[in-house]
Amino acid sequence: MRQAIVHAVMAALVLASAGSAEKTSSLEAALKLTSKHGADVVLMLSEKHITVGDDGRVLERTREIQRILTDHGLDAHGDPIVSFNSELQDARVKVAQTLRTDGAITGIKPNAINVVTPDAVARAPHFTDVKDMAITFLGLEKGAATELEVEVEDFAPYRRVLWGTEPLWDDRETMMKVVSISVPVERDITWFVTGASVTPEVEHSDGSVTYRFSVADTLAVNVSAIEGVSALQLPTLYWVEKVGAEALARRLLGGAPIALDPSDADAAAAADEIVCALETQFASETWTPREKVLGYYTRIAQGLATVEVDRRLFGDAVRAPLEAFRSGYADPLEKLGILHTVLARLGHDPEVLVELYHDPGSEARLHPGNIRGLWTRATVEGRYVYLDALGTSRHGEPRADDVFILDRKGERRAEYVKPASTRMKLDLVVDLSCHEPVASGSLVLRGSQNPYWGMIVDGQPDPLVVVTSMLGPMSDLIVKEASFTHLALDETAIDFLAVPGIDDGLLDTTLPGAIMTGPVDRWETWRPERGLPIEIDEAAWEKVRIEVRLPDGARVLHAPSFEEKTVQVGPLSLFHSVGIAPVSVSLVRRLTMVPGEVEPASMVDLVDFLSNALARSQNRLVVQLPLLAP
């Protein structure tokens, strides 16, 4: 039935006229929709057509037809927002109309289209060409259907490389979502989709190739459940021009100076001014060269306000390092330029280390959104220091398979050799037991998965907390058994620092040379002077047996279309809804110890503590294991 409606709508859309309000058959069809799963909004159709012209200009045409069923739906989708670059693009509302259940249809008025400055750039004049256009649906009330058609078109080509990221998930129950990308054959694209199995229809015609992706009948994703979850974990289409890894990295770096040109006197003078300012304001006479590098890095990372601007909209142009430094704010790309300028001026020979998620030699998963890290490698006192200037590498040291180094000309120069003993392993056996059982079974997760380490580094350093974080969206799970390994760095004692400005709290706790384990309140104890490196024998991974019990209050939904009725876990699942209940963990017993670890005398007490009703009455039993001795 739904498919039939969609097809009827598709046909009707072709005939729909833009401009004034018109009661189209598609709107009337939308007015009859209900949600099978209690969604706030049913999205009957979402179409996005991206057309790249021969000259490189891009036209994006978006059309959506929805029915809003709840107050939350009105709040979330009654005033859609389109972001664009007011200097480089034209944004046009072709259709914005509402059909109410009483039959009244209301079109758009000029005062219902408002261009505002996004909060993210409201204190960063250089980036304020990026704007948000808010479209207020008039005549809207619960139960009404709306239709929106918007075009955003480049005035002139400005993209160094064509790429995009299109979510195939939605917080609305979606009947049909279509994304089509049409490019000239000489600028053909590669693509991949995460979290879903989607294959495009491909059509060649008149020197262009068109990829048409579609998904149908997807449930609403609860946005409150996926906050902070990497888009890589949700069903998302990534597409990018076929240019190769090095070229992609080069183009993404844009004009950011990644090293000082010795012959450029102006650049050298600018570098002198930045270094002089840093030395005057921050440096201590007792600082070693290594401390100076880390101190300046911290100043650039945190002392300059970080602007999160969508470079795909804003373009790749960067300010000169001195200009950006003096302004007091910069986006990560500009911070990269400032950092390299300083390091080069101090004689530390900075280089860019690029880490990609994709397999070596394969273009299959090459995408800007798939760049896991852009690191700065500097040589300090004969050793490498790795600095995350872009703040993209939130998960600790580089560890993807394809990591390479660009020299100052942007050429691939060398491969990166991973420290041998840096690893993490997570084995979980999970039993599902739901109060509203829509799925049950068992699940085993294995392997060195990025998100888990990421969560540790992101301020959840307790493995048990990581487990609960991972499972958080899945209420009513009982983890029967789990084992963990520790993280460790090998004898090279590489310094990894992360996230300038994006997460201020993180840098505070990620100290130079810190081993990224241990409870948050113990970060301070893991300083290099306390004895790095700590060797950990892989064979003696710590193992703990834990039982995780998440309180009632949420549901686990699974998609009927999933083969073998596999339930995806936590943030990996499109089809879940969550409880925001806190989690609790109790330690049943500890199996083995890590060499060098001091037997925590409190362990037995801890077990008693957890089984004590008084303790349980305090509700939040987060176990913090004293993992390693200093």
Partner: protein, 665 residues
């Protein structure tokens, strides 16, 4: 809060004289003066934890006969640390192009060594302001102040005239800045900031025939008045003012920082008549509205029923989303016909829709200005941020209605709007009035439980949650405005406060959208390991002794943090009472080893009583506590600390049951 407070914005007037029109401006601020100020001002050591220091802030205002104000604003701010440097690296000046002009005259950096650097004001960017729910076309000017370091200072001067909030007209350029209440001027000037201030000066020059009525509140400000042939000259000065940082859930800053409120309007009734007259044309209806009103009140018998039906329709069908209608936006109400077609607006438009519909139904109704979340002082200066409806009764009195706050509220006037000042806009002119003080008993959470503990330590129980007054609204909105299903998830989470191992076995709730019936939720639960069981002994906490209402929106008095460290008053919006009762069936042959003595306390700010008694083979827990005021000033903090402590103690009090066998010798 989903319904954001609307800034009705009768606008902050600010003005100044134009030197080219013969008006004297204050003497230019010389570089040496700035350097001298900086030399005598303190540094980072004198202001620990502060990032910047306002060394000098002078606002000079000259008012014309028309009420048009000219404002020269000068500020000298010292950078105390790197955070301060970042903060001041971009200056932002907001204005509304529809009714206000804004000019950045000069910006100057004064380096630590005294070197002055002019910032090119031509590089300022004129941009739309960020906006979310209210999109009225407000703009801002951004200017970069590059290269700042600790010890440096930034000084600037701006000139503006007009209102900060819209007043569009087809008049010539100058006339569009004249205030809507022509010939009058008002201002509310705060003399404390989130950063320390060395010197704050506010100068005002008004025509001699416009005497200013002014008062100082919440502290002391030095003042001076003098006159010449044409003008009255007022000046208020305060020096060496400590920083007053914001704190969570505080009332509007104007409620507790030192301020001067001033106005040329002498009586509220003048403001009332003006507000009536300026808005009266907008309440016309059309046949569609008339037909809808007829349908809405069909079958309703009494006036109260009809008015309530109309208010609920407006509350649930005119969504909160502000778009500008152009002329008059900000202080005049959108025409009822426009709002009916748009189905959206801010508080004034939603109120206007109800006035329109009430009038169609034959009632006399007017819009009223009010201030949600802060006092309105008795000087007749506009101090309003919200708009409501006054329904006139046969005896001339008013019944107040607030459709903006009415969604999912059983009341026609929200019980979160007690002790709130308002001025009705009527043809006769009304004085400043206030809504009544609501009591804790009117805003009550009620939790009833029945449970049973068994020898193996398991606990099975049932909880019923209901509420009256604003707590009832809070519970309903948790369902209405969260993603579908999240309301239930929230309630599950709260019940899970009983035990992290609690397992909900059933849940039922009435319809949260049915405002004619109480919203009642019922849970059944079990926990196989709730009590600690050992030979002849069972120990546990009474399930509902745990703090179930563990969300700040429901229990700010408990969850805001340490009251002993707080400086600013706290705004709870409504006084409240919580009543908890639970009967716990205990195993036969077991009795409590001892029971805690009852806890009682009653003061001007809080009251509580907790008691556990033995009744046959059951324990009966009874806990009642109340916070008696919607606003907690500093003198209430000790009592709130005491209440928090009592709640903490109750929720950790273990009951130990002992079998009769053990007590045998």
């Amino acid at each position: 809060m989903r319904r954001a407070i609307t800034f009705l914005a009768i606008g902050l007037l600010a003005l100044i004289a134009d030197a080219r029109q013969g008006r004297a401006e204050p003497e230019p601020l010389k570089e040496q003066q700035i350097i001298a100020m900086l030399a005598s001002a303190g540094g980072a050591d004198d202001h620990p934890l502060c990032h910047t220091l306002t060394v000098h802030h002078h606002t000079d205002v000259t008012v014309e006969d028309s009420g048009l104000g000219h404002v020269v604003d000068r500020k000298v701010v010292k950078v105390l640390d790197t955070v301060g440097a970042t903060t001041l690296s971009v200056l932002r000046f907001d204005y509304d192009p529809a009714s206000q002009m804004q000019e950045i005259r000069w910006v100057r950096i004064v380096k630590k060594d005294g070197t002055a650097i002019e910032v090119d004001t031509d590089k300022a960017r004129d941009l739309p302001q960020p906006a979310h729910i209210i999109r009225w076309g407000a703009r801002m000017k951004l200017i970069e102040v590059p290269g700042l370091a600790p010890g440096d200072a930034v000084a600037w001067e701006t000139y503006s005239k007009g209102f900060q909030i819209a007043y569009l007209t087809d008049k010539d350029d100058e006339a569009k800045y004249i205030p809507p209440m022509e010939g009058h001027f008002y201002d509310v000037v705060l003399f404390e900031d989130v950063v320390p201030i060395e010197e704050r000066i506010y100068s005002l020059h008004v025509p001699r025939d416009k005497p200013v009525h002014a008062k100082v509140y919440n502290g002391e400000v030095a003042s001076e008045v003098r006159a010449d042939l044409d003008h009255m000259h007022y000046e208020w000065i305060k020096r060496r003012v400590a920083a007053r940082p914001d704190e969570k859930r505080q009332p509007d800053r104007s409620d507790f920082v030192t301020k001067v409120v001033l106005a040329t309007v002498q009586k509220w009734s003048e403001k009332s008549v003006w507000f009536f007259e300026v808005n009266e044309p907008v309440f016309a209806a059309n046949p569609a509205i008339e037909a809808n009103v007829k349908q809405i009140i069909s079958g309703k018998k009494t006036d109260a029923e009809k008015v309530e039906a109309l208010q609920r329709w407006v509350a649930h069908n005119i969504r909160y989303s502000g778009i500008s209608m152009g002329e008059g936006e900000g202080y005049t109400i959108h025409p009822g016909i426009m709002t009916y077609e748009d189905r959206c607006g801010v508080c004034k438009d939603i109120a206007g829709m109800l006035v329109t519909m009430l009038r169609v139904a034959g009632y006399t109704a007017y819009p009223a200005m009010t201030m949600a979340g802060a006092r309105v002082e008795d000087v007749a200066a506009d101090q309003f941020n919200h708009c409501v409806v006054a329904w006139r009764q046969a005896d001339g009195s008013f019944v107040m209605l607030d459709p903006t706050w009415a969604p999912y509220d059983m009341q026609n006037w929200s019980l979160a709007e007690g002790e709130q000042n308002y001025v009705v806009g009527s043809p006769e002119g009304e004085d400043l009035a206030a809504t009544p003080k609501f009591t804790a008993e009117e805003n009550r959470f009620v939790l009833n439980g029945k449970s049973k503990v068994t020898l193996d330590g398991s606990m099975k129980g049932a909880v019923e949650i209901r509420a009256t007054g604003y707590p009832d609204t809070r519970l309903r909105r948790a369902f209405a405005y969260a993603p579908n299903g999240e309301g239930k998830a929230l309630m599950h989470m709260l019940v899970s406060r009983i035990s992290p191992f609690l397992r909900v076995t059933s849940y039922k709730a009435t319809d949260h959208a049915d405002l004619d019936k109480p919203f009642v939720q019922k849970f059944s639960y079990e926990d196989a390991r709730y009590a600690t069981a050992s030979d002849h002994r069972l120990s546990f906490v009474i399930p509902l002794a745990h703090f179930i209402l563990d969300v700040e929106r429901m229990s700010p008095y408990y969850l805001l943090g340490d009251w002993t460290k707080r400086k600013n008053p706290a705004m709870f919006w409504f006084p409240q009472e919580v009543q908890v009762t639970e009967t716990v069936a205990i195993p036969a042959g077991y009795r409590p080893e001892s029971l805690p003595p009852p806890k009682n306390h009653d003061s001007g700010w809080v009251a509580y009583r907790f008691e556990i008694t033995e009744k046959g083979s059951s324990l009966v827990y009874s806990g009642t506590w109340s916070v008696k005021s919607r606003l907690a000033p500093e003198e209430a903090f000790a009592d709130l600390t005491r209440l928090s402590g009592a709640l903490d103690e109750v929720k950790t009090t273990e009951i130990v049951l002992v079998s009769s066998e053990e007590v045998k010798p």
